[in-house]
């Protein structure tokens, strides 16, 4: 069975800590989750469909066994086969780039220009993608809006950059 978009988003939310509704909004004009799923399913990802399916099914089974997506994410990240793929998925959401799971420092490709602009790391730093500001002149003289304005976390607990 191919991995569905909803399955991929649930896994991604547990791995990244970002609320599923932010990763895949109900109305989604960009469809970045679809692009990322297609990236993993492509030959270029160097991830077999067997491994990817095993990652998702193991995660889902462990949500039931361990009782929380967070614990299930920790479980798959510790797995020697599944962990590297899970870490590449975290990095893809953060950086918009797919990294070779077998060589974690090696980038394979920027998924797309949209992926660069949508990558979450810019929100984590309470900013904008370098080269794609959504702010106006002089904004830099003031602190940015709070972290919660940029990232809605999966736990429902507000992330707090100052702690």
């Amino acid at each position: 069975m191919p991995v569905s978009l909803d399955q991929f988003v649930s896994l991604s939310s547990a791995l990244t800590g970002v609320n599923a509704a932010q990763l895949k909004p109900a109305l989604d004009p960009i469809g970045i989750a679809n692009q990322y799923l297609a990236m993993i399913n492509s030959q270029a990802s160097k991830v077999s469909s067997t491994t990817f399916s095993a990652l998702v099914s193991t995660f889902e089974a462990q949500v039931g066994t361990l009782g929380s997506p967070n614990k299930a994410a920790a479980f798959v990240l510790d797995d020697p086969t599944l962990g590297p793929v899970a870490r590449s998925i975290i990095k893809m959401w953060l950086m918009g780039t797919w990294y070779d799971p077998a060589n974690p420092g090696t980038a394979i490709q920027v998924v797309s220009s949209q992926a660069y602009k949508e990558s979450l790391v810019w929100k984590v730093m309470q900013s904008h993608p370098m080269g794609y500001s959504m702010w106006s002149f002089g904004y830099w003289a003031q602190p940015p809006p709070a972290f919660e304005q940029f990232i809605q976390t999966s736990s429902g607990n507000s992330a707090n950059g100052a702690n």
Binding site: G17, I90, Y116, W122, M130, I151, S155
Partner: protein, 620 residues
């Protein structure tokens, strides 16, 4: 061989200097031909933006496609800088890498300039007579900074108007800088970032270094603080290098466009551009006196080697505006009648190659200052650009980066790697923790919102032995590639020691925790070098980057023996040949070069006009 009609002026290079000269000469009714080795100016920058967004390595060149017909130095080349099969510049026998890069395309290298628009300070022009170092310029600050007889504006004023510099005169009158009475910059000052203010509050009026006040000043910026010249206001994309997505930052395509709009009474354009036209040889008359043409190779495909033929372009006066690597290459390659090359009676062509060797220091602020926001640089320490120390060591200015550790430590990527993969590339993860979920988000936020970095732009001393010559290796069109020999003098290296001490002092005053590469990693860097203090015996380890400031190699001077061009930027050897751009700088001075390139180009255009009108006896 095909030959063009004879123009009043032929200009080689459609960058800053070439575009300004074309504009001024076209406006004065002269017929001008600009030849440009690379691609035409695109009708929209969207293709360059797409190239940037999808490029894995965000170098200064990352927005601009390679063109095998007009190759250039790139940052990626520097990964294998000693191997000419991997690097356009032949640096195979150079002690250190020349690390600055450039573009060959319409608009030139300033597609990826930072925008810093400094005037040089008065003592920059007289380093030898004030401090016994380097060489004096044949001109003084006043020649550029104040109106010359018969003019109401200074050449620096003209340059600032063209670029649309945003600054406040009251905060730029340091170290002897003076201005035209009543002068105002074209646009108001750019607001400072939170990091700038952290350092300004920590040092201004409080800290001294080597007996001089340490003062943070706003950086005069070639970016719009209000709509100007038909362009938008800066939106703080934090991407001036490699490319401003909205052209709020000036670039020479703006001036080139104005040049193309100049026309004669019959509505015929005064300025024409031939793109994809590579200057190969400067041709002289039989007496080796006057330039009679420039032989060029044309090509028809930007993506592959595709020469289509040769054409000779002709004019009354010739201007070479191809900066300090490609200009000497062209002059030295023009060696059929004069074995030493054109304009090289002094033997100075290709010598004194300079850059501002760039020393980076970085750290974490105590509280969040929210970097990765605003223009790439908005302030720095300018008060230490001049002083008695210049007798002993090179001067520097300090640029504050607003891009966190993006330049200094390959972030955000490296820190993301560290906390996802459990590595410690950037030394924030000594326990090699592997994080995920909300804990990862919080850790990354805590680090990214506190990053800061200093860049020290060191005034490298001019050295005869730092050279551009012709390599035995040729490019795809059969033109010899530039061969580089480059090193740093002890005078230059001593500035790094001072920079280290200043960083320690200012970081401590501002509560910043410094980070630096471990020695083993430093030793692997291309720009690694050591300096041993002869008094204390202490050895220091450093590495350096390029500032993108390619300077020297056809310097201006007072005699035909000590220089390539005179103070008017006219060749001593060939009265109808002008050489412009940063290659004429006798020293690299303490400011970023573009504003001075522009000011000198306005002056050179006046000199060309005088010569065309026969008013200047030296042209005959």
């Amino acid at each position: 061989m095909a030959q063009t009609k004879k123009y009043d002026v032929v200009i080689v290079g459609a960058g800053l200097a070439g575009s300004i000269m074309a504009y001024k000469l076209g406006k004065a009714g002269k017929k001008v031909l600009v030849i440009e080795s690379g691609a035409s100016v695109p009708t929209s920058r969207e293709a360059y933006m797409e190239h940037f967004y999808t490029n894995l390595i965000k170098t200064p060149e990352s927005a601009y496609p390679n063109n095998p017909n007009a190759p250039r130095a790139t940052v990626v080349d520097l990964f294998n800088w000693k191997d000419p099969s991997q690097s356009y510049l032949d640096q195979s026998s150079s002690p250190l890498p020349f690390s600055s890069t450039y573009e060959r395309r319409g608009g030139g290298t300033m597609w990826h300039w930072l925008g810093s628009s400094f005037r040089f300070v008065p003592n920059d022009f007289r380093l030898q007579s004030e401090y016994g170092q380097g060489i004096d310029w044949p001109i003084a600050y006043e020649d550029l900074g104040l109106p010359q007889p018969g003019r109401s504006t200074a050449y620096y004023d003209d340059a600032e108007k063209e670029i649309g510099v945003s600054a406040d005169v009251a905060r730029q009158t340091y170290l002897g800088l003076t201005f035209t009475p009543g002068y105002q910059y074209p646009n108001p000052e750019i607001p400072l970032t939170l990091t700038d203010n952290l350092f300004a509050d920590a040092v201004n009026g409080k800290e001294q270094f080597e007996g001089q006040a340490v003062t943070v000043s706003p950086t005069p910026a070639g970016r719009n603080s209000r709509p100007y010249d038909g362009r938008r206001v800066c939106a703080g994309n934090t991407n001036c290098i490699p490319i401003c997505p909205i052209q709020a930052k000036y670039d020479p395509t703006i001036t080139l466009n104005k040049a193309l709009d100049t026309a004669d009474g019959a509505g015929q354009r005064n300025v024409n551009v031939m793109y994809q036209t590579v200057a190969a040889k400067v041709k002289l008359d039989q007496e080796n006196k006057m330039v009679v043409g420039i032989e060029c190779i044309t090509y028809d495909n930007l993506e592959k080697k595709s020469p289509t033929g040769t054409v000779v372009v002709t004019g009354t006066i010739y201007v070479i505006a191809s900066h300090a690597i490609e200009t000497p290459k062209l002059l030295l390659n023009s060696n059929e009648q004069l074995p030493a090359g054109v304009a090289n009676g002094s033997g100075q062509v290709g010598k004194n190659l300079m850059d501002h060797p760039l020393f980076l220091r970085w750290g974490l602020t105590k509280d969040p200052t929210f970097p990765y926001r605003g223009p790439l640089a908005t302030a720095g320490i300018e008060s230490l650009r001049d002083g008695p120390f210049r007798s002993d060591r090179a001067a520097f200015r300090v640029e504050f980066g607003n891009e966190g550790w993006n330049f200094a430590a390959a972030d955000p990527e490296n820190t993301v790697f560290d906390f996802v993969d459990g590595t410690n590339n950037n030394l924030n993860n000594p326990n090699c923790e592997k994080l995920f979920g909300v804990a990862l988000l919080n850790k990354l936020n805590e680090i990214f919102t506190r990053q800061c970095r200093f860049g020290f732009l060191v005034e490298q001393s001019p050295e005869d032995s730092n050279t551009v010559t012709l390599s035995n290796l040729k490019d795809d069109l059969g033109i010899p590639r530039p061969k580089i020999n480059y090193n740093l003098s002890d005078y230059t290296k001593r500035a790094f020691v001072a920079a280290q001490k200043l960083t320690d002092q200012v970081f401590a005053a501002a509560g910043v925790t410094p980070f630096e590469k471990p020695l083993a990693q430093l030793k692997k860097a291309g720009g690694y070098f050591t300096y041993t203090d002869p008094k204390t015996g202490e050895t220091y380890n450093f590495d350096f980057f390029g500032s993108g400031h390619i300077v020297g190699t056809y310097r201006m001077g007072t005699t035909r023996e000590n220089s390539v061009v005179d103070r008017n930027q006219r060749s001593w050897d060939h009265p109808n040949l002008f050489l412009v751009g940063s290659g004429v700088f006798p020293t690299i001075a303490t400011g970023n070069p573009s504003l001075t390139i522009a000011a000198l180009a306005f002056w050179a255009a006046d000199n060309v006009l005088k010569d065309l009108e026969g008013a200047n006896p030296s042209s005959r």
